[in-house]
């Protein structure tokens, strides 16, 4: 009997001893293949490679899980509720991470890692009360795309970044109009488009102030000035078509076929679409495009450009040693190696200091323009509103559409928006 008991105890100890290495999980979005590299599994391939190397180096097993964005399967909430949250998760910021960037859920990376390698402006977006809860992996940026051929035709030299004012843009608008070219896209279909909203930021408008996301700050004299400017562009005939009938899809279409002088967009839009428009026979030769800042009101220094990041968040646990290991894994997933593939093949911008590659998709002039802009003009903050984002946008869209149609004054539009949006934001 004693022998049996002894054997059982030894067997149990052996079983525990042989239960395998520590397993860490990484949850990421779906597999996206890089078309330029046939057979290679895109980001997923890079992440799996990094995970395998990490596991080998630290004697752990790293499992990569794929979230199906289309069906919403295996999202963080579902895994949290099941009691199996992923150790590290990677996704676009803003929509998914808002409520997790706090002490309760996320590892404060600055306690475990040297974060000086990252661009400070990007880290600041994810810093709450001095704690950095997310590491930026890829920055997708945009700027004010302008048609250089039209500029040359009217004999206008593009001012240096930060020197272009809204007043000057009006005088350029008149010159372009004389040639039959609308100066810009004002997008009001379904409401004042977020690309058009940059004309509000040009006057110093802000969506939120001081990181307070529980109430909007857009109801301000600066926004009123911005709205008046948008109206001036439309009334002077400097806007393309009827603003309530055009949106961002139209902006990309009509800008890339040379029908309008400028619009906010990403360099991915111009780099991808202009060759396509040539192929479709809509234009004979590619148009010459540069990216710059949206002109700003006199007295202001810059209009920020927009960018959103893919970020990596790590789940905080009781075990401090495990937290340190998980932080290292998160760091590996945003490393120079991972970012190299991203910038080289997918057109994403580096989030690291002093490292902007000039290879592959990163070699284009427009990529370099936008990369420079993000540093000089600054980035518009990304707001971690989660699902509330769509709700406040709906309010904004409906009311701004009424303003576009002249049914509401600018002040009434902003007052109503403030009242309704704050109800959602405070919830």
């Amino acid at each position: 009997m004693k022998k049996v008991l002894l054997f059982a105890i030894i067997a149990m100890i052996a079983a525990v001893g042989w239960s395998g290495p520590l397993t860490l999980t990484v949850m990421t979005n779906g597999v996206q293949a890089f078309s330029e590299w046939e057979g290679f599994r895109g980001y997923a391939g890079v992440r799996e490679k990094i995970a395998a190397e990490f596991g080998e180096k630290y004697g752990t097993k790293v499992v990569v899980l794929y979230r199906n964005q289309a069906t919403g399967s295996m999202d963080v909430e579902a895994l949290m509720a099941a009691g199996t949250p992923p150790d590290v998760w990677i996704d676009a910021s803003g929509y998914f991470f808002g409520k997790y960037l706090n002490e309760e859920y996320a590892i404060p990376f600055q306690k475990y890692l040297d974060l000086s390698v990252f661009q400070k402006a990007l880290l600041d977006i994810y810093t709450v009360a001095g704690n950095v809860y997310a590491l930026p992996f890829s920055n997708v940026g945009g700027g004010f795309a302008v048609n250089k051929d039209m500029l040359d035709a009217v004999g206008y030299t593009l001012p240096e970044i930060g020197k272009w004012t809204t007043d000057e843009f009006l005088s350029l608008g008149a010159k372009l109009k004389a040639k039959g070219w609308p100066a810009t896209m004002i997008m009001g279909k379904g409401g004042l488009n977020s690309w058009t909203k940059f004309w509000l930021y040009a006057f110093g408008a802000e969506d939120y102030k001081g990181g307070n996301l529980s109430k909007t700050a857009i109801n301000s004299p600066e926004t009123i000035k911005g709205l008046a400017y948008i109206k001036k562009l439309v009334d002077n005939g400097f806007a393309f078509g009827n603003p309530i009938e055009v949106n961002d899809d139209d902006a990309v279409e009509f800008f890339t076929i040379g029908k309008v002088f400028s619009s906010v967009m990403q360099n991915g839009h111009t780099d991808g679409w202009i060759p396509e428009q040539v192929r479709l026979g809509k234009i004979k030769a590619p148009i010459n495009v540069r990216f710059t800042e949206v002109p700003h009101a006199a007295g202001r220094e810059h209009t920020p450009v927009y960018g959103y990041q893919t970020v990596v968040v790590a789940h905080k646990q009781e075990d401090a040693q495990k937290n340190a290991l998980v932080a290292k894994l998160a760091y590996a997933l945003v490393s120079h190696e991972a970012q190299f593939y991203n910038t080289l093949l997918a057109g994403g911008f580096s989030t690291l200091n002093n490292w902007q590659p000039k290879l592959g998709t990163a070699a284009s002039q427009t990529y370099q323009d936008v990369a420079g802009l993000m540093v000089t003009a600054g980035l518009l903050p990304i707001y971690q509103l989660g699902n509330k984002d769509a709700e406040v946008k709906k309010i904004w869209n409906t009311l701004s559409e009424q303003w576009f149609r002249g049914k509401l004054t600018a002040q009434a539009f902003l007052n109503q928006y403030e009242a309704e949006a704050n109800k959602v934001l405070a919830r």
Partner: protein, 284 residues
């Protein structure tokens, strides 16, 4: 004893009813008391219902649906009733072909019809092209509130009439032939027969079709989603179901959407009750 016999016979249908209707309804009821979704949630009692009653967009969606009902239901009912009534004068072969042709658009999903109509109603689309030939200025079908409402009404008429014609034809066919023969022998004209005999017999069915059309109009969403995302100009064509869809799947508030859904069920139940009362008052 009767229950003992009836229950085994009813069991398969009852089981399906419980699994596919009763249980989901109970779950929706529970969900409507939560803030969140089925996985992660906090119990908030009746707060979702109170919020829905103060939700201007949700309330506006009923106004939108009311306008769409006025634009769609009378036209749809009159047209389909008249068509079905007209078809009774033809032989079975012609009737079948006509019914098939009219029913054809109903077979396509709302999404497909929405896509086709978006192309027809586009600013440089087929309809404006035809108007231009006639020298009429282009109409912003999907960019102004009233044209957008008329556009939805047009699409729903094109898609829904066929089904109603089939239903009316079926009910008309159920009227005993002897009644008509008798009326004609008594000196009734065809017109008098339709007006004085067939129509009163059809009233309960007309009420049924009207009820189904009204409830169907409140539930249009995929056509709107395709025709004019964001619920059309200034949200003018967003119906209650479109609002519920947005709340659940775009704003991620499944609990709140469930409360809105149950409120819609209550409105439809009220319509059903009104129909029943009406039938009673009219002694149908």
């Amino acid at each position: 004893m009767k229950i003992r016999v009836a229950l085994p016979l009813l069991a398969p249908a009852l089981a399906l009813w419980i699994v596919l209707f009763a249980a989901p309804m109970v779950m929706v009821g529970r969900l409507s008391l939560w803030n969140g979704n089925l996985v992660a949630h906090v119990n908030v009692g009746l707060r979702n219902y109170v919020e829905a009653l103060r939700d201007s967009m949700f309330l506006k969606s009923f106004v939108n649906a009311g306008i769409l009902v006025l634009l769609i239901v009378p036209a749809r009912t009159i047209f389909s009733y008249r068509t079905a009534s007209m078809l009774t004068g033809y032989g079975e072969g012609t009737r079948s072909i006509m019914r098939f042709v009219l029913y054809l658009p109903t077979l396509a999903s709302g999404l497909i019809m929405g896509l086709i109509w978006r192309w027809i109603l586009a600013k440089d689309g087929l309809l404006n092209g035809a108007l231009a030939i006639a020298g009429i200025e282009a109409i912003p079908w999907l960019f102004e509130a009233w044209p957008a409402r008329f556009s939805v009404a047009m699409v729903m008429l094109a898609c829904g009439v066929g089904g109603d014609v089939i239903v009316f034809s079926m009910f008309m066919a159920s009227i005993p032939v002897e009644l008509k023969d008798q009326a004609l022998v008594d000196g009734c004209t065809e017109r008098q027969y339709r007006k004085r005999i067939m129509f009163p017999l059809m009233v309960p069915f007309i009420l049924l079709v009207v009820l189904l059309s009204v409830s169907g109009t409140m539930q249009i969403w995929e056509t709107i989603y395709v025709l004019a995302p964001e619920g059309g100009p200034e949200g003018s064509i967003a119906t209650p179901v479109y609002e519920i869809f947005q709340t659940a799947f775009m704003f991620g508030r499944q609990g709140y959407a469930a409360a809105k859904g149950l409120m819609l069920v209550a409105v439809i139940a009220l319509l059903l009750f009104t129909k029943k009362r009406l039938e009673k008052t009219m002694k149908l």
